[in-house]
Symmetry: C2
Subunit: 332 residues, 2 copies
């Protein structure tokens, strides 16, 4: 019998189309892991509602789009379990049970929650659901008994919160019913938006995976470089230069990128030349995705989600049975 | 076709045996309403866990005891829907969805929650589940589309919170999917414990419905009366006098109780005489309950809960479908 593959839980909130930041930061890694790992990809539509309850119809529409994005980048629904969060009642049940072993103070201290509260400008008026979302993430992770969770370094508190819950539950059960998980940190720094700010749907500064060749050229043309680098011969900065950030993330010839950086620093490399190169690189990344997406059958999404959700629910039911038993709740 | 009976949601947290305070304050009223109203009685075991997660086994055991208490006092499982909260996943799903339309600030302002936080001494260390329990109650109430909720006057904020959620959901759905509810205030003042403090399982100062004749006499003997009423001829106080509180709640001859009060005030009525009367009155209340309980088959509880829970889940599923649609979530 082959050794059991390690279980990964990953996913996305369906609040808009996936973009190159997602591709560099997580989708490429999922593609690399899909053959060797037991990977569940959760379309986190319930979590999207925690701060988008007024845009519920958008969230719903984006569920299909995001699965099309997955298929277009090459995630194989036979190798991965693609599941829909809102179609898994077990996740709500686990969350409600876990809320009993997490204090309000602990949730309020969660740095990711604090940062988001500040960014969204809702101090005490945060939806209660938003405050509870680290617990909901713990439910997602433990529901498939994941031991590996791909995260950015700003999401480490989520892993800590999950493991704190796991330890409380194992103590309640007086045996190990849930595994602790560890982070799989992305080796790629977070890709900035075209304007140099954080890539975000609300800023409209990201390049979606469905971008046309023209969209790509237009976006690259607007990219933030170095405002002091006016003439070709001027020395320029590569730090904070968005074009170089994208080249480092996507150019297959990284030795050439290093040489271009050196030349740009010394002076002698114009933004137009550089941007033409990047536009070609990005088109070579996106073209096959775009073409695959065009050939996809939208009607294939529902059965894929249904099968994946069923598979994930099977695991979640076994986990829920263990967690209910830890709380002395009878089987339903 | 007869007019639809009004829907009531009521219930108890299974944290200990029901006592005379429950009987005076709610069980008698449920018995009176069961023939004319569509009454769901929820055994709120999940809510009991919000601040008893360390005593989960106790909560589990008390589920059976509380249903036996219901049957013993004369609640008819054919007339009422007796359902088990933890066996209704729809309630967790509704709670999670409602948490998106309630702010943290609003939950923290809830006077019932504030009072309980103070009473239990857990300031910021409150379990997050405990803070969320008014939302969980809103899920219970709306899950059966209840319009009438028996409450003490200290629980009115629960009704307000529920109706606030109902209005938000109806606004989201752009139509009335959930009815607002109104309180059914108990006409009986809250019955004190034998020592004059609030009746509470943790004080051990309540008379359980399963008390033997000897238990009753012993409890009545210890009842707080008036410490200044030493001799029979001394004038005595009836305010704060626990014996009179119980006589007013249970003595079938209230005219006689009024005369006894007058005599006690003037002087000339001894505590022993009074307590003998009360012991007889309470024995006449409890004896038939005790006898019915002794004849009950414990094995009847599980099928009663199963049937009631199924009935309640049928309604809850229809409500959940409406609420999910309001959030643009596809049917599962």
């Amino acid at each position: 019998m082959p050794p059991a593959r390690e279980v990964i839980l990953t996913g996305d909130r369906p609040t808009g189309p996936l973009h190159l930041g997602h591709y560099a930061g997580s989708l490429r890694s999922r593609i690399a892991l899909q053959a060797t790992h037991d990977q569940t990809i959760l379309v986190a539509d319930l979590q999207a509602l925690t701060d988008n309850s007024g845009r519920a119809a958008d969230v719903h529409r984006n569920v299909t789009e995001i699965v099309l994005d997955y298929l277009a980048v090459g995630l194989d629904p036979e190798l991965n379990t693609i599941a829909l969060q809102s179609a898994m009642p077990e996740l709500s049940e686990l969350t409600m049970l876990y809320l009993n072993v997490v204090t309000l103070a602990r949730l309020e201290r969660n740095p990711t929650v604090r940062a988001e509260i500040t960014a969204r400008g809702f101090e005490r008026d945060i939806p209660a659901g938003f405050l509870c979302y680290p617990v909901s993430q713990a439910a997602d992770i433990t529901a498939v008994r994941a031991t590996l969770v791909p995260v950015g370094d700003d999401q480490l508190p989520m892993i800590e919160q999950t493991n704190a819950i796991v330890r409380r539950l194992n103590a309640l059960a007086s045996r190990s019913i849930l595994p602790e998980c560890r982070p799989l940190l992305s080796p790629v720094p977070r890709l900035p938006g075209v304007d140099g700010r954080k890539a975000s749907k609300s800023f409209g500064n990201a390049i979606p995976l469905s971008a046309s060749a023209d969209d790509i050229r237009a976006a690259v043309r607007e990219m933030y470089t170095d405002p002091l680098h006016v003439r070709v011969t001027d020395p320029g900065h590569v730090e904070g230069n968005v074009v170089f950030a994208y080249l480092r993330a996507f150019d297959p010839d990284q030795a050439a990128v290093a040489e271009l950086e050196a030349l740009y620093r010394r002076g002698g490399l114009g933004d137009v030349t550089l941007k033409n190169r990047l536009a070609d690189v990005l088109e070579s990344v996106i073209a096959p995705i775009r073409e695959r997406r065009a050939r996809l059958d939208r009607d294939a999404v529902a059965p894929i989600l249904r099968r994946g959700t069923e598979r994930a629910r099977g695991r979640a039911q076994s986990v829920l049975a263990d967690v209910r038993a830890a709380f002395s709740l009878a089987p339903v």
